[in-house]
Symmetry: none
Subunit: 216 residues, 4 copies
DNA sequence: AATGAATGAGCCTTCATTCAT
DNA sequence: AATGAATGAAGGCTCATTCAT
């Protein structure tokens, strides 16, 4: 449940800042990407992290919590980065493009992480996946707020079904990513961002000829 | 011994049609849906199927092949049913709606199967998932042919990126399904079909006001 | 215990003469030689024999009894053949040479059988090996009678320890055979017979210069 | 993890010298002697050794490697002991006697080990037996060097076929031992050594009346 | 006599986790 | 804080044998 990190209010946050906590998470990404989830024993992760097996359990409650923390840590960085990137953009159209591009870019830059999040982490049991979904909510909230803003600004269909639209956006991005990872990341992912964006905003009711916000 | 073997005995007799083969697959669906993939031991499946453990291995090479056959069998039925259903429809718009509705309907009618395909089968190792993807190709081909037809008929964007559109359609349907299964299938899935369809065809460039094919 | 053969006194012996009984034993030799004892399942032997699995059990009580019968049948032929061959020889020296030569010749002519008796049949459990030893006694009796005769005729040491000498003769022949089989029967086995014989009779106290019985 | 690994900790520390490694091997000898090879499950060996099942696999790669190590360890001790014992003897005749006596004595003192090496270890598959043969080579080399020395010193036949003689010596010793074990070690094994030796050296061409080296 | 589909007992090995040091 | 040796539960698969046809 808890990833093993302790925060002392009013005092200094202790574990997450320590190198070893991140060491282990980064080791997990490498080991899982290289060996696959089912071949990523705790001892392998410990070895890669340069610590003893037992040390893992000083920082994480159990193996599952390494994965949850991994996802929290990386996805947290994701949402943070995406929030930053879309901040400067005026329209929802632009924000959505930035979201897709940033998502694609971040995974392009870390193919190991892409393997882990798109393929390996899905081989885990339902409990873990439910917790991962918790973490994903933050990301879905960003999509939702872009959609709501877009509806209010008139960029999108005024009667857009936000929940379905959110699933379309997330599902499409996810499907594109998974395909890209599975086919061995031969093609440029970032290059696909505009095409994906194009279809998605049109699906949300945006009409290119009506408003030229995106035009360059 | 192996699934997929054919015996001619007076008439064409496919082993797959023999009761025990299907018995085991149906048992697997029930057991996996109820216990989760990692808690679905071969002995449990055998018990549910009403056969001895060893009997499983007369019909399947190993545990993994039960799952592949399960997917082939069920997905085969899916694509077959979908092909049938879309046959009678004239426009691509209508065909896509029929595809979504049929997909939703079939999983609505068999919630256990929905759990298995949307959640449990994804917890398997990469090898199995690659084989499952092989099976999925058939489904993706149907989507592709609808899209190509729609582009040719002028219903969809003449410069539609088919590969991305296919991923949008599949990714969206998949995301909607997974969410529906994970949230405990409280809401009607089939009711969502029109909304999903609406967003997807718009994403593909369809303009409601231009052509009224779908109108009732 | 019983090999499954039935003899009706005064009437015709039934099973052993029937082709299927021998068919199965011969199939066992081939299958065991080709696959090794632990990979020689009953079903494989049945297939090689051209009968159904269940048919095996009409002729043999269980798998073990196939092996015992195999050994009895083949070893019986051995001792019979050896008895025949040594009958015509006058001296014990000559008889022992004939025994060795015949043993070597028979296994040279049937390498599969050599593999089975020298290597594979020894991988069986102790019970079976005790029964095989029973069968071997006949062979050891022949050695004994040659030795006793040789002592009486003055060819061998008058105070020869027969039991030890028997073990020397059998142990040496066995060791030469096993080495020949394990090293892939590249060299001629029969060519070694005279050298083996030479050492063994000398060990038994025979003195070439004293009597010239063997000279040509 | 693996047997045969070396760790330097202040001094030369061989893993094989660690108590647990030997504990397990000794437990294996007891369990196999008492239950037979095919009834000697890893769990039984672990229980006898007083360790957990999994601990076995910290010291041995798999079950088979317990047996190989067992043989290496015990046979290594054998050859070492035999080399020591024959060192002090002048003639080949004496050395061979010492070899036989030592071999017989060592197995007389450890009947469990005798059961394992003479009966149970032979029930293993061919692969394992080939590895065991590797270990046996050391023993055969000792025999060879005694023979060569004996030929050079004139004790043995100057044109002695060393390879056959070696097989005679080893085959005879082995046959005597196996018979002794199978018949329940009722008789004294060491008492047989002189008789066995007597036959073997005579087989190698030694003539008692010519040289009186062995006489007391 | 012959078949062959069905049975079900039995075991090696892995690996997350603990705890004495 | 750190170590890493030790633990022990848990399951997929094989194959000799049976028996209804």
């Amino acid at each position: 449940m808890n990833d093993g990190s302790f925060t002392v209010k009013g005092f200094l946050e202790v574990k997450k800042d320590k190198p070893k906590y991140k060491q282990i998470i980064d080791a997990a990404v490498v080991v899982i990407a290289e060996n696959g989830y089912h071949q990523s024993q705790v001892s392998k992760i410990a070895k890669q992290a340069g610590v003893a097996d037992g040390t893992i359990y000083l920082y994480f409650k159990n193996k599952e919590s390494i994965l949850i923390s991994l996802f929290e840590e990386k996805m947290g960085h994701f949402t943070e980065k995406i929030r930053e990137e879309i901040k400067g953009n005026k329209t929802s159209i632009e924000k959505l493009l930035k979201l897709i591009e940033t998502h694609f870019l971040l995974l392009s830059e870390d193919y190991n992480l892409a393997i882990v999040t798109q393929l390996e982490l899905r081989q885990t049991n339902l409990d873990l996946r439910l917790k991962i979904n918790e973490v994903l909510k933050e990301y879905l909230h960003i999509i939702d707020s872009i959609l709501i803003e877009g509806v209010q600004s008139g960029e999108f269909d005024p009667i857009l079904n936000i929940r379905i639209a959110r699933k379309m956006i997330f599902g499409t991005i996810d499907e594109v990513l998974t395909h890209w990872v599975m086919s061995g990341h031969k093609q440029s992912l970032v290059d696909k961002a505009r095409d994906v964006h194009h279809l998605l905003i049109r699906g949300c009711g945006y009409r290119q000829e009506d408003s030229r916000l995106l035009e360059q």
